[in-house]
Amino acid sequence: MQTAAATSYLHEPKGLKSWLFTLDHKRIGVMYLVAIMTMFLVGGVLALLIRTELLHPGRDIMGAETYNRMFTLHGAIMIFLFIIPSIPAAIGNFVLPLMIGAKDVAFPRLNLMSWYLYVFGALFSIYSIITGGIDTGWTFYTPYSITTGTSVISITTGVFILGFSSIFTGLNFIVTVHKLRAPGMSWFKMPLMVWGLYATAIVQVLATPVLGITLVLLILERLFSIGIFDPALGGDPVLYQHFFWFYSHPAVYIMILPGMAIISELVSTFSHRHIFGYKAIAFSSLGIAFLGFLVWGHHMFTSGQSETASVVFSFLTFFIGIPSGVKIFNWLATLYKGQISFKAPMLYTMSFLFLFTIGGLTGIFLGALSVDVHLQDTYFVVAHFHYVMMGGAVMALLGGIHYWWPKMFGKMYSEFWARIAAILIFVGFNMTFFTQFIMGTRGMPRRYYSYPSEFTGMHGFSSVGSYVLGLGFLIAVIYLIHSLFRGPVAPANPWGALTLEWQTSSPPPTDNFDYDPIVEHGPYDYDKIHVEPMK
């Protein structure tokens, strides 16, 4: 394997500078992965601190003002710095060109610039922590965000910059998918991962500019009192909510669509079976991307928007459940008559199917107008979006990292510890967040520093669950890093998969393929082609 290592993108050229100025999508993907996982660590530690504070009503380890900064940063970091860029910018950057047989993304310089924009955005956000933090919640609702004394401007500037990073990644992917597919890679021979990333890219490109202009307005409102959102000057705070959710609801699909895309790959590979309903899955991604733009008002049923608007938004909201349901059923049908392996990525896939189903179904409670009135702004909402975002997107991300790890770094991790971690994460996650559904329906409002004593037991249980979850992640970090140094060398195609990235060496050479790839079969033709996975 010495020869493979010598020519891999990881080893040549050498030196820090060759990484910081690289135009190679794989290196940029790895740099994203490092940056994003660092942010995930920060956000995760904040989450554990929050859960620790909530062990008892009143003060445990921090005061109310610190607590408010903690949950705001947890939300802002996890959403803007972790989940939104995670799968597209880190994993997508790495695998998308490989999967379509391209040498790179269409605009490598723009790709590197996106990474630097990400880093700048992150620095601005961290700067806001140093200058006293921010206590508005990640949604920056006006007029609170206009009047609070905390450093709103630096973090919103950070998010504004991150938005451009996200736009440029999306733009790059759209052009890459349209123009750089290998000969024979027709649209319906693309892996579903590519379809998912493509649908995501469309949402990134169409929704993010609106967030950008909203944040500019918010910053100007704070700096110069321009009177658009400030009620004291004739502005309207509910207008801010409309603007904010016009981006941030589609952003939910920026987070979950790539997760669904990964699951489509994993279900097929680890069932060793042709994906069921390829076109249904592909088009449901586009359907979700489109419908995602029409439902933002369902975040505002109790905000004071007109009843008619609420009824229309509720109606449209239910339609977005259908394409998500179609995906779940197609994945289940893929399992049918497969040859299913229980490697770590498959364990995450099964977690995803279970948790995302709960996440989706609880969305129906929140879409139903009268029930939402009771549940809005309670822990039910918190639990719901953690089931979708963490139970969905993060489980898929973890599955994807374990799946492509051998391809990215050319090393295998410990399967035993990977399974232990996957099970701990599943158990810890459910302990933490299922409890929150019950608290929510019983009326526990979110973003509460203290709470009525009747909730003490459940808060305690939820906190203990979060420690189990944290332990699972800690184990994953240890064996993954260990594998980089001590792990056995990975073969080119350890899982016996048929998509193009597994046809090249692990890790791939700088130009991805030593030959010009020509697509001769579909990405999931397990009914026609025999490939034996690694033992």
Partner: protein, 314 residues
Amino acid sequence: MDTTSTFWLPGQYSTIASDVDGLFYFIYWCSVFLLALVTAAMTLFVIRYRRRGKVSLTSGFTHNTSMEIVWSVIPTIPIVVVFMWGSKTFIRMHAMPGNAVEVKVTAQKWFWSFDYPDGASSVNELVVPVNKSVKLTMSSQDVIHSFFVPQFRVKQDVLPNRYTQLWFQATARGTYNLYCAEFCGKGHSEMLGKVRVVSDSEFVKWADEQNKPPEGMSLEDFGAQLYKTKACVTCHSVDGTAGTGPSFKNVFGHEVLLADGRRVMADENYVRESILDPRAKVVNGFQPVMPTYQGVIKDRQIDAIIAYLKTLAK
């Protein structure tokens, strides 16, 4: 906890609660069914079709249009029921009743105040008659708050630039928790109130008694009571520990250092001004976050608070 609450939901104490809960359980059982179906299918398949040894070519059954149609259309049916049911109740929640007891609700950081038709007012305790429609017209003095009573299944954001409305009809006497459900800063989780549902005659009697100290109560004790009912307790301790505002212990008759460097004597006029125009003299080390109590508190009540402060000072 009251005994009528279930595992999932608190007890039903308003006329719309049972309707909301009906839909809740409809979605709940549909969801349980679907989740069981998905989990059972997944479990069955992964066990039945687990990999044994080497792999081989697998089934070429890769798509089926009728199946796609079936699993797209069938879930649509309960979905439409949920939409219609939810909207119907929602519209009922927003149709304001004609002959209701009207209460003006003012939210500010971090307490609720209520103004009743006959001039009575209360802080953090909404008193309403049982089995009568109550219509709340709400506005905020600062940021967005949200009026939430879980046992009534009602919630409505309270905005600074316009009035929002909400109505409910309580079905049983008792005391119910009132929460602020929209994040509003440091005291968000302390912005708790009660809704006390009383009989018609008790309501009338209560409204009468609002503006004067109860029979036989000393001015100091009345002040101590106001300290709690007017929500001073949220920010000001009486044991010397600093909260959002300075403690009330040993304030009256002592010299106070202000944020602008001045020193003033905490006398009757200082206390009065601090209640009615709290930002005129801000104590050093504290933020000017206290709202004015102008209109919320009566002169006689200020007298009582001053009397109470005197008891706290050595």
